[in-house]
Symmetry: C2
Subunit: 453 residues, 2 copies
């Protein structure tokens, strides 16, 4: 039995079905929304017009799941989990009918919910989240009905910067109101500052250190401005991208173990700790950060898919594990590519690690090759051991996916000295003769060596 | 003392200079050509018109080297190495004057020389190699003087396909005459076939299994056709890209140890085996293949630079090593990107390894994102252990550099099962939710698992 019909839940169901036929395993999945298996990560590109329509974001329809003998019950919300009794209570959101259904194995994949602080005006027409396909459609309907000029995006994380791009693409004047010192708090502030400058270069107004206190509405009841302690930003439409938290109210009520970030805690097989037949994956769980050794909450479709795969294999009688993450993320805002993996400076401090941090400038291709695009690479290496701790990259085309090299090196526990010898692909259209990641590694080696003690 | 003033030699000189000042270390470098420190890899892009001029390919001029207290003697050929006497004999190619110069440490960086079989007509006007900047200029002069229509490229390795692109860009009808069964013999034939088809799609005539026997000349003495056993291909210009071999005649005459590919053999510090004060790097050495455990000859600027760095550090009183390669290479022909790392099927057989080979199709971006470009990934994994052995990628934009993930995984000795959990960057503009490399790894895991025994 699966609670939550998106990436983690339906991957688990599909993988289990691949391993066991309908005669061997019955699969029921509950989804309270109108859609299953959709790409939430794609919503900004749909809103921005890069993706033609909503259906492109649907990986698999409910009918396709049902054709594979998965009893997917849409618009059906699970309202209670009875772990001791091995059953869940669900409510049909159309008819209101409730029932208890027993399970042998339970998969919790309830996802995350967007932060939406209880501010005056936050529920006014014209204020939109972008978590679900319904949210995306509502925002598009607003844009079509109110061809305004000014959009304010609240939050400057991945969703915030992606939505800033989307609104620019829709022809809006965009202001991003950000609580932090620089956009992209998943980067160190010095790298976030590069994002800040680039966004300003794109014509986006970036307001940092700004906490929203209120949203003002006009005579028609629609939002007309975003208010912070210091200023007021006129808005025809407001997009909220203030982050998400694990959706674990059900799990908490059922007495299942939650971590410091509010996510479910699992073992390596994605089994909820202490519960032989309860599994969890996706945005509702915490994952082990292999670099710091602590748990983190990283809502990301690619992890959710991997979790689902692992759960499905285990429930289907096989064996698979999810060893953890190194914290890789990549994003873009217009032409600017932003990537990170491993620890930021403050993560390393928090983990008790001492380190050297170096930053280099390089290009995506040989300097003499056309369209060689600049990029900045920051690298952290542990003192004494020289172990790679993290990499952040901000640049133009070809910058973002270079972070993958560092992600693999982190997973393998490589030192920056070992990285300097990495045999990375070289040809003038693809890289300078020293790949930017290797240039950073060389500088990190020098920094680690020069430090006494 | 450095013999050969290109990537490896001058990197060694520069690194040694960074470590020891002119009062501590005297550096003499001999270069027989007209240029030092140039990017041979860039020549096809200069000929093709992507790179504006020859000077863009010169990383550092002789004057710049001399300004850093490196006594670089241009147009001066070393004609003999006296290892026992610790001296080299050189000839000034302008004056013809010869002299012996003593050394404490010798760095051999004599590079590679292009294969140029002794065929009738091969020295006719209109037949060009592309090894040096002089070669490139001569070819450009020919193209300017004889605005012909038909170019024949002999050879379909990296240089061959890059020169095919260059000649297409110059407006020629291009025929590639290739000895092998498919172009890009550094790939397995099934992957080479994809390159073959794509090149045909670009309007390049691809002739495989064709050994050149003769080049015909016209009444003016210029080349007019390339002849194979089966056919004759009219040509206004012929470009030779038949591969290179280590330029080690001097080293051989000096009694230094050569390997099975004709390259110098070194230890991990790039010291010539058995010789405390003789070092060698770049295209004249053989390198250890970390996957097969055997030596290979891989002429590539990025390795030459690393070798030079290591030699310079060691000669300068520091310590550095070059552990070996995994055989990564990336190239493109027009929009097609071609990449490989590790072992091909025949390399694995030769190394005594049994393996599973899988091939998958995926895209560079989420399928619904604009410009998601197709790519084919082939992966080899060792039987039983599941250790990654090699990856080949053929695709469009965004395909080539994905091979780096596999290069790092190979270096770390990862299994394909471990690879399935790699935390690679995901966002719709950068990757499908399962990166193509991970899709291949999953299929490889299944292949290894399903094989009995």
């Amino acid at each position: 039995m699966v609670v939550g019909g998106d990436a983690a839940g339906m991957s688990a169901a599909s993988q289990a079905r691949r391993m066991k036929g309908p005669g061997e395993l019955e699969i029921v999945a509950f989804e309270r929304g109108h859609f299953a298996s959709f790409s939430a990560c794609g919503i900004p590109y749909w809103v921005g017009g890069d993706v033609p329509g909503r259906d492109a974001l649907i990986a698999r329809t409910p009918e396709e799941h049902r054709a594979r003998d998965i009893d997917l019950r849409m618009r059906t919300e699970v309202t209670e989990i009875d772990v001791d009794g091995g059953r869940v209570r669900s409510r049909d959101l159309e008819s209101g009918a409730e029932e208890w259904t027993p399970y042998d194995d339970l998969v919790i994949a309830t996802g995350a919910r967007p932060l939406r602080p209880d501010l005056p005006g936050i529920d006014a027409p014209g204020v939109h989240g972008v978590q679900t396909l319904d949210d995306g459609q509502a925002l598009l309907d607003t844009l079509a009905a109110t061809p305004g000029r000014r959009a304010v995006v609240v939050g400057a994380g991945y969703i915030g910067v992606e939505m800033a791009e989307a609104m620019i693409n829709r022809g809006y004047e965009v202001t991003v109101v950000n609580r932090g010192a620089e956009p992209m708090a998943t980067l160190d502030p010095d790298m976030g500052r590069l994002v800040h400058r680039a966004m300003e270069g794109m014509g986006i107004t970036m307001v940092n250190d700004a906490e929203v206190t209120e949203l003002l509405t006009g005579d028609d009841g629609r939002v007309r401005a975003v208010v912070t302690k210091d200023a007021e930003y006129p808005a025809d439409v407001v997009v909220l991208g203030m982050g998400v938290v694990p959706e674990t109210a059900l799990a908490k009520a059922a007495g299942l173990p939650l971590g410091g970030h509010g996510g479910l805690l699992t073992d390596r097989a994605m089994r909820v700790r202490g519960h032989e037949n309860v599994w969890a994956g996706g945005d509702c769980v915490e994952v082990l950060d292999l670099v710091s050794g602590s748990e983190r909450h990283i809502p990301l479709g690619t992890h959710a898919n991997k979790h689902g795969q692992v759960i499905g294999a285990n429930v289907g009688g096989g064996y698979a594990t999810f060893p953890g993450v190194v914290g890789t993320a990549v994003s873009k805002v217009c032409e600017l590519e932003i990537a990170r993996t491993g620890l930021r400076e403050k993560d390393a401090h928090r983990a008790g690690l001492r380190f050297e941090a170096v930053t280099i400038e390089s290009t995506s291709r040989a300097g003499y090759y056309p369209d060689a695009a600049p990029m900045t690479v920051k690298m952290l290496a542990e003192r004494r051991t020289g172990r790679l701790l993290g990499v952040q990259i901000v640049g133009r085309e070809g910058a973002g996916k270079r972070v993958d090299v560092a992600a693999v090196a982190l997973t393998a526990g490589m030192t920056v000295e070992q990285m300097t010898s990495l045999d990375l692909g070289y040809a003038p259209p693809f890289s300078p003769v020293w790949d930017p990641v290797l240039v950073a590694a060389r500088k990190a080696v020098a920094a680690v060596r020069s430090r006494q003690g």
